[in-house]
């Protein structure tokens, strides 16, 4: 092993003519400092963003902000209540469609995914994860908005569901594959049918990880804006009817941010804080669910 390492190192041409020890140490120190600088550069915008969202958003938060409808420009007050309700509604609907399909595809990949079909599906899922969300919005438009001649929450939910499925499938596969084979073999040896083993033993063991993946994909869907712009459109009023246009927190933030009004900018920060809190809560619950399963 050591000889192989040495020959590989030689072939990568570590300079034979070694400079002074001092010079090499200086170069080493400089590069380490540059890499540390890279870390700082990466984290400064994040710190600025989080600080500003919290400090500017906190002023707008109030019970009225969560429960009232948006007001016209120039009027005091108003809130993003319909956006919060709309986001929760559409994400919930999307989860009803996307979670079964995503987790099911993941189970397929883990249990029966070792053949040709499995590798094609796996590759497709990996590649689909990189498709821009706006393209999925166009697809949902063509699939649902056009035939119905109507923007609707259903179209938005379908777009979000399509976004959830590929990443959820891959994550579920990883989680299910982590379950040790001995569990499956023990269950089969006891006479449990294969399908029952897959569901009640394997999936049950991997459930913590699968819930983690599901909650993370829900959090991601809650933060999506582009696919909702022309599927669910927007709505200035309360709506929980699946076949009507619906407001969402993300589209509200977009509309407020690009407006020229100071008051709406403040509301945008407040709504952004709201959104980050929702996503943060979902991610926190996801992390907690894994930990509890491990201890159980």
């Amino acid at each position: 092993m050591n000889q192989m390492a040495m020959s590989v190192a030689h072939s990568y041409a570590i300079p034979r003519r070694v400079g002074s020890h001092r010079a090499r140490q200086i170069v080493n120190g400089t590069m380490t400092a540059l890499c540390a600088l890279a870390v700082v550069i990466a984290l400064v915008p994040l710190a600025s963003l989080l600080w500003l969202v919290v400090s500017k958003g906190v002023h707008s938060l109030s019970l009225a902000f969560f429960t009232h409808l948006p007001m016209p420009v120039g009027e005091v007050g108003g809130g993003v209540g319909n956006g919060i309700v709309g986001t929760l509604f559409m994400v919930g609907l999307a989860s009803c469609i996307g979670l079964p399909l995503g987790v099911g595809a993941g189970i397929f990949l883990a249990e029966r995914g070792n053949g040709k079909l499995g590798s094609v599906v796996r590759f497709t899922a990996e590649v689909l994860a990189g498709v821009p969300s706006i393209v999925i919005g166009v697809v949902a438009y063509g699939l649902i908005v056009l035939p119905m001649h109507h923007f609707s929450a259903l179209a938005g939910a379908v777009a979000l569901a399509i976004l959830m499925i590929p990443t959820l499938a891959r994550a579920t596969e990883e989680m299910v594959r982590l379950v040790p084979r001995s569990l499956r073999e023990a269950s089969l040896a006891l006479g449990v049918p294969a399908w029952r083993t897959s569901l009640s033993v394997i999936l049950r063991t991997a459930l913590g990880g699968v819930i983690n993946a599901a909650l993370l994909s829900i959090a991601r869907a809650a933060g999506e804006t582009a696919p909702l712009l022309f599927t669910a459109l927007n709505n200035q009023y309360w709506n929980v009817h699946p076949l009507q246009p619906t407001a969402s927190l993300t589209v509200q933030i977009f509309n407020y941010a690009i407006s020229p009004y100071e008051d709406w900018h403040n509301k945008a920060w407040g709504a952004a804080l709201c959104l980050l809190l929702v996503i943060g809560l979902l991610s926190l619950v996801a992390k907690l669910s894994t930990r509890r399963r491990v201890n159980a």
């Binding site: 994860a129 821009p132 706006i134 393209v135 399908w195 712009l229 459109l233």
Partner: protein
Amino acid sequence: MASAADTSTRHGHVGDRAFAVIVTLLGGSVLFIVGIIVLVCARLSMPAFAKLGFFHFLAGSDWNPVEDSFGALPFLYGTLVTSAIAIVLAMPVAIGLALFLTEMSPAKVRRFVSFFVEILAAIPSVVYGLWGLLVLVPILRDVVEPALGRWLGWVPLFSGAPLGIGFLPAGIVLAIMILPTIASVTIEVLRTMPSALREGALALGATRWEAIRAVVLPYASRGIMGAVILGLARALGETMAVTMLIGNQPEIHGSLFAAGYSLPSVIANEFAEASGAVHTGALAGLALVLFGVTLMLSAAARLLVRLSARRLVTA
């Protein structure tokens, strides 16, 4: 490795067969999704391609909904420029970050920084756009762009009025957004490298940086290239932050200070109110182009990362 499920279906257990069918159908849903994406986008964009011709559509630079004349060139240009800025800015920072986390930092710092990189990845695009619009743009408009214009104004890249919005803030925010993508794949690639190689270099007296430069980076180069391509694919498709920052002008200008338009932005802005089948078709055609390009880039990136891991076996 014959799974036990195969044995049972041979014995004809009804539950096993039903489970196999259901699960295979669910797995096929992923392929079904690709199918409908292609079908729906193709069907929607038919009227536009029929009227304008595919190559004329791609190469034309006039975007005129009133006269039904659509050319995709300004959007292709804007998308490429912002993505190029993003890659140029994000690549060194992401690789430096990845090297720091895998090679140079103690475990506690590693966990702390990884946590924040995860948060970077989780923040929605529209919040980045909000921050960019209300925080970054004023800084660029009042401080950075006038300074760049004064010192480097003779370079065509930095000529023109300091608007604040335009290619530059869009590129900078895109860089921040693709940073976690490139960094996390690079970290994955660096972690799967056999430590014997690195240790061999260190045993021969190389400093830590010399070991990285001579052994780690060349070995991981394919995987890092894959990570950068993945970041590029993400940058090409990023919609909301770019829409809020790029200025929405379907024109081609050489300066970074200028306003422009990108493929996802025009779709986001115009789709809801598109007038007529040709307009909608042109936008759907843009979506199809976007889909095809990101698909190819993602596939190439995954292949590169997989090839980099395969070196493990043959080395």
